[in-house]
């Protein structure tokens, strides 16, 4: 059997990562799973790779003299991770992200914290060419269920292709 022909057959493409427009009904709520623990390595790597050399993220000795007495996880990492975690339920089929808005860092995140996320569909609207616009509100929380981040984002998702089930 030709393995690649088999895995690329249309019926095998629908593995359920992300949602089609039809599934993202206004008001629908998702608790995303799994979450993940942010390590010191993650944060150092992320900060430097994104050219963010703020010593609060990469210098423990400097951070010891600041408000929290230790390093804080870089905000863009928390935002990127919370968005990433929501993709399995929401944007895993998205064709485009148009914007983020009202992004609020509501609590500090430290190395060793675990981050989880949940989302609600705020509104949706049909677009031409078998696509739709969806606004999603997502909340990031830590292992104590304290909210550490809220944001909204606007994405373009496809409608379910004709003939595709589930």
């Amino acid at each position: 059997m030709n393995w690649s022909a088999r895995v690329l057959a249309p019926s095998d493409l629908d593995m359920g990562y992300g949602s089609y427009f039809e599934e993202l009904e206004t008001g629908r709520h998702f608790r995303h799973w799994p979450g993940r623990t942010i390590t010191e390595f993650d944060d150092t790597l992320f900060s430097l790779m994104s050219m963010n050399q703020h010593p609060l993220h990469i210098d423990e000795h400097y951070a010891a003299g600041t408000q929290h007495g230790r390093r804080l996880v870089a905000g863009p990492f928390v935002i990127s991770l919370v968005i990433g975690m929501s993709q399995a339920d929401i944007g895993g089929r998205a064709l485009e992200t148009l914007d983020y808005s009202n992004v609020r860092h509501l609590g500090p995140v430290f190395h060793g914290d675990s981050i989880y996320a949940e989302s609600t569909v705020v509104m949706r609207e049909e677009l031409p060419n078998e696509r739709g616009l969806v606004i999603v509100a997502t909340r990031g929380l830590n292992q104590r269920e304290e909210t550490i981040l809220t944001l909204e984002r606007k994405i373009v998702v496809p409608k379910r292709p004709e003939g595709e089930t589930t």
Binding site: I79, S80, H105
Partner: protein
């Protein structure tokens, strides 16, 4: 050359051109997507996507990162982003550059040793086409009496 600015050093209307920029590679894009648990095949599967654009969260994070040395490098806290708008796609092999404009600065009502600074940061590709524009506010400490 200091890293970041004190509150007194921000001037409303000033534009800081950040340097250096950087080229985003396909490797960057794949591992960034996977590190942040974003498995949308648009970013990680060339056969599915045709041409994988750079993932939005990487464009965002890098634009912010490049701005820190000239803006919030002394900050006590980054408060959030009013908006982050993606205007054009960026592709692996493209370079990203950024600049920031100071929109507003005001003294903290409760703490005399700091102020709130609002900036707009814009990311461009090598052809000077605008890719992303974002607005954020952060707390900047005052230099205080020397």
């Amino acid at each position: 050359m200091s890293f970041g600015r004190y509150y007194e050093e921000f001037e409303t209307g000033a534009i800081y051109k950040h340097w250096p920029g950087r080229t985003i590679t396909e490797n960057d894009n794949t591992w960034f997507a996977l590190l942040t648990m974003n498995q949308n095949p648009l970013f990680i599967d060339r056969h599915h996507a045709g041409r994988c654009p750079v993932i939005d969260t990487l464009v965002f994070s890098l634009t912010v990162g490049m701005s820190v040395a000239d803006t919030s490098g002394q900050t006590i806290a980054n408060l959030g982003y009013e908006s982050v708008t993606f205007e054009r796609p960026l592709f692996p092999g493209d370079s990203l550059y950024a600049e920031s404009e100071v929109l507003e600065k005001r003294e903290s009502a409760s703490k005399p040793d700091r102020g709130i600074v609002a900036i707009e940061t814009r990311g461009f590709n090598q052809d000077r086409e605008r890719i992303v524009v974002l607005r954020r506010s952060f707390l900047a400490p005052k230099r205080g009496p020397e």
